[in-house]
Symmetry: D2
Subunit: 337 residues, 4 copies
Amino acid sequence: MIIKLEKNLNPQVIDNLKSNLKNIGYQGNEVKTQFDHYLICIGKKPFDLRNVGCMEGVQDIHKVTDPYKLVSRQWRVHDTVVDLGDDVRLGTGHFQIMAGPCSIESEEQVVGTVKHLKENGVRIMRGGVYKPRSSPYSFRGLGIEGLKMFHRICSEYGVKIITEVMMVEQIEDMLEYVDIFQVGARNAQNFNLLDALGKVDKPVMLKRGISGTIDELLYAAEYVFSNGNERILLCERGIRSYENAYRNTMDVNAIAMLKDKTHLPVIGDPSHGIGIRKFVEPIALAAVMAGADGIIMEVHETPEKAFSDGQQTLNYDEAGQLYAKMRQAFQMRSGWN
Amino acid sequence: MIIKLEKNLNPQVIDNLKSNLKNIGYQGNEVKTQFDHYLICIGKKPFDLRNVGCMEGVQDIHKVTDPYKLVSRQWRVHDTVVDLGDDVRLGTGHFQIMAGPCSIESEEQVVGTVKHLKENGVRIMRGGVYKPRSSPYSFRGLGIEGLKMFHRICSEYGVKIITEVMMVEQIEDMLEYVDIFQVGARNAQNFNLLDALGKVDKPVMLKRGISGTIDELLYAAEYVFSNGNERILLCERGIRSYENAYRNTMDVNAIAMLKDKTHLPVIGDPSHGIGIRKFVEPIALAAVMAGADGIIMEVHETPEKAFSDGQQTLNYDEAGQLYAKMRQAFQMRSGWN
Amino acid sequence: MIIKLEKNLNPQVIDNLKSNLKNIGYQGNEVKTQFDHYLICIGKKPFDLRNVGCMEGVQDIHKVTDPYKLVSRQWRVHDTVVDLGDDVRLGTGHFQIMAGPCSIESEEQVVGTVKHLKENGVRIMRGGVYKPRSSPYSFRGLGIEGLKMFHRICSEYGVKIITEVMMVEQIEDMLEYVDIFQVGARNAQNFNLLDALGKVDKPVMLKRGISGTIDELLYAAEYVFSNGNERILLCERGIRSYENAYRNTMDVNAIAMLKDKTHLPVIGDPSHGIGIRKFVEPIALAAVMAGADGIIMEVHETPEKAFSDGQQTLNYDEAGQLYAKMRQAFQMRSGWN
Amino acid sequence: MIIKLEKNLNPQVIDNLKSNLKNIGYQGNEVKTQFDHYLICIGKKPFDLRNVGCMEGVQDIHKVTDPYKLVSRQWRVHDTVVDLGDDVRLGTGHFQIMAGPCSIESEEQVVGTVKHLKENGVRIMRGGVYKPRSSPYSFRGLGIEGLKMFHRICSEYGVKIITEVMMVEQIEDMLEYVDIFQVGARNAQNFNLLDALGKVDKPVMLKRGISGTIDELLYAAEYVFSNGNERILLCERGIRSYENAYRNTMDVNAIAMLKDKTHLPVIGDPSHGIGIRKFVEPIALAAVMAGADGIIMEVHETPEKAFSDGQQTLNYDEAGQLYAKMRQAFQMRSGWN
């Protein structure tokens, strides 16, 4: 059960509400986000919605049978649209492409990429400055100084930034240079990181874990939301399966199902989803047709020279053609609704 | 190495050729199909193509480094198109829908379905008369009499039939009533069945195994081809993964990769690929965009009353809309090439 | 529900019984095995056991809530012991080793192996004469003539034979030369083969499918049993997982769980379970401790020269040491019960 | 290549060494642990070991072809033994049991468990005070105050503590109350946490990721070691597979293989490995026979009342019997070497 509270409630009223709920067998968890104030009530006993609805302080009440609550579609009529400002919106009906290199490597690289994006009408650039790497001896990113440079150039060109955050301590430093925090597949169940990202007012994109279930992804989003941040994107990036012919197995089923289960925007990542350059195009298009609200993909001027992930990165030409096809596919899909 | 032999060769010439190949370290396997005559040469030693090319009886010669040979794209310039007659073709550029119930249940059911297909321009009907079932106590299909009825009605309406064959002994009986033999996921490595299907001149559609690899699927096709039958279709129908939110995990990566590795047509099965009715549409469309040459899907007048697989079966209305969307998506994709 | 019928019932009595059962919502499937006569009743309605118990022809009645019936432990008090004659028994309390090469290659090979087994007190020899191979160009076994030779030598030495059957047509030819029919992982859901093996009075060992579930394995056994053959062994041989460091992932959980769910003997196959020679020993011992009633493993005089599976095959010395350790481990485990 | 440096080297010597290595194509990463001082050299060019061996500052040099270096068995002759003091050692030849509840719940619970452990000669108690939970609304542990209480009681009874750390910020607070830091499966690739745990002189046990590979686990250990901490344990706790009959699939193959690939101790976790109480015993014993140097398992006075994981937790009686059997199995295995 989700109770939307009236604005500016006296704490005493909330306490009373909680103890009334306790009496009918429900534990009330208070959640205050950048937009609203809720009580998330966990319990199993049947109860009469009307009895709760008339308690003091209750503005609205919704039954949610899903195990996750705030991120469920069961209580929210309208899909969430995450607004980055400057007319850049993510969510149902607002198809967005996020493109860029795996790693931020240099100023020239960022300038070159930003120009490529601008020419192609892409509004969001991806690029890692903190890189999770299997081996401790690999390149681990340019760090906060790289991010500042990345931000300076993108601001100049009016391009938004999505970049990965790996630990709680990095959040504060990164905050003003980032438009979307990305949580990587390896941190998909790093609950402390999720808690902390729930306490800032910046959008967060959660990648599905390496072998994460749909439910685990939704629970991860519930962590962020219940800590106070409603601006969440979910990202399908391929799962680990027995098949070794590709890096990961893009799970388009997840895209279709997530669009049904939650009001949050769903993004597809075909670069990691298959991990082989020449197949990024068909997989990106498949993700769009399965219902993705956006695509995040790796682009580099010279993929073969990229510091990381070159084998799954498109060059500018290939990417430009794919942007156009994805938009055409999205247009067609939109026409059907 | 694949050697295409000249027509009507004297057996002695072939024997000589084999022993010459043996001398350079290659074992020659003779393959005679409905269309051509080949020697498939297995070995590892480097050799000079020209030396082989000038041997007696050799019409053409191709190096194939893939572990599977005849089904590899490496030697065949043109994609295979499987022609069912009456202008029904399967393969690159010829998008086909195959639809129908999981099981053939009754004459009325077949008539109703055929009419629905005709109205929607669908040329191939699916329907099982031999059903592989986990439990020995479940309905196992109407058998050969059901197939005869199925065939009688389809012939009348000019609709082609695809149906599953489960064992070698069934092939002969089924032969004249079937347009495409389907080999199910549970028989994906039933090598004797594959051998036997290589010896008839009827198209065969091979479903990927429950947890089959791309290579295993291609090897299965190699079994059929090397026994003499070049008319093969491959079908991606979802794999078994750790995710239980759906029956199977549709692997669109496989579609994209198979189209690259082999000259054979590739079909997608969204009904089994996700196993949940309301998601069949997005997954079917995703499969088309990933490169599928056709879609096989479950349709029933009243899915909730179907003998099997009702939960993943569309009714006529839903199916009709999906046919149109798939064709539109295929059209768009074709426009890009 | 499983009804054990009285011996030599008049068919009319059985028909009456079936129609009485139908009246309370149960479909009765008659099963006649080499030992007993049953009605397996499939239905969902609650009923009073006593009412059924007093019907004419009913000797005994058991409620079985598992989806599989005859193979469930719920109705059978004593574990099944499969008796091969000559004091060779398989089942709880009778630890058996089955060892031998992947493929039968020659008379010398069989004689050498049989002698090795005799010296080590191993009573059952494994060896394939029909080999399922991924590639159609690989060695596919010596066939029925190989089996006759294999049988001639083993009979002479008093060693029992387990060998794989791949198709229905082979059963009759193989029948008199085989002590246990093995169904391979690729045929784990070849239901026609299972049906046919239910109709002969020879023990059958069912390998779990490549990615088979516990339930699928038990259902496969139900196929054999419900067709009339109670002499069934189950075999855990490793599953396909995302981990590529080994050929398969030995699933000792399955051994522990199968021993709980069914009265049938459970065998472990460490050779396929890990697929790497130097680890066969610890995995074999782990399988014994998890509860296996026997171990099937690959042994060859010179593994590096074996026609197939050499990389997972032990030589005579290694095998001899392992036999002793397994027996010691089994002894210790037995002491605890 | 791993170079062991001489003690107390002048930094100038190390710099020279690094630049000499650079000249032959190797990047030297300096690693200083609680025991030794190394240069880990990453590169691909062939070189003459003797030329490097005679450089100034080099005490010893080892070629390591594995992708991970310091944790590889290739350079270390003797297995690592982690010494917790008071005669509690972990590693080859020193079998240890770690037992206790999933979560620390109360003082009475800790006292009761410690007494149970003392009576049974178990030297290490497990128990979580920071609990990773899928849902943000679940009990998340007693936190640092719980740990202090846990530590106070264990110190009194001379029992060592292993407990999970979830984030970098917790390390400092926990440091004096912990004998072994546990990194959970969900943090298996939380590289910042691994870095930080490399900088303290306390043993660290790394659980394999939910779907982690052997290589990823070894790389995680390389993170800890290369940051300065050589006292590492690895733990197999079951992987996520397609099989839903159990919570996880215990991978005994991993135990056998890890004992071969690394000099670090390997622990098995049967409680999570199968997740069902009645099967913990056979799986624990299987893990011992596969080569585990220790077992970590969940024990509770009244499992059905445990705050978490009750379904896979043994009571004192069951646990006591299992301790004895595991020791007997370990004894038998040791006798064979």
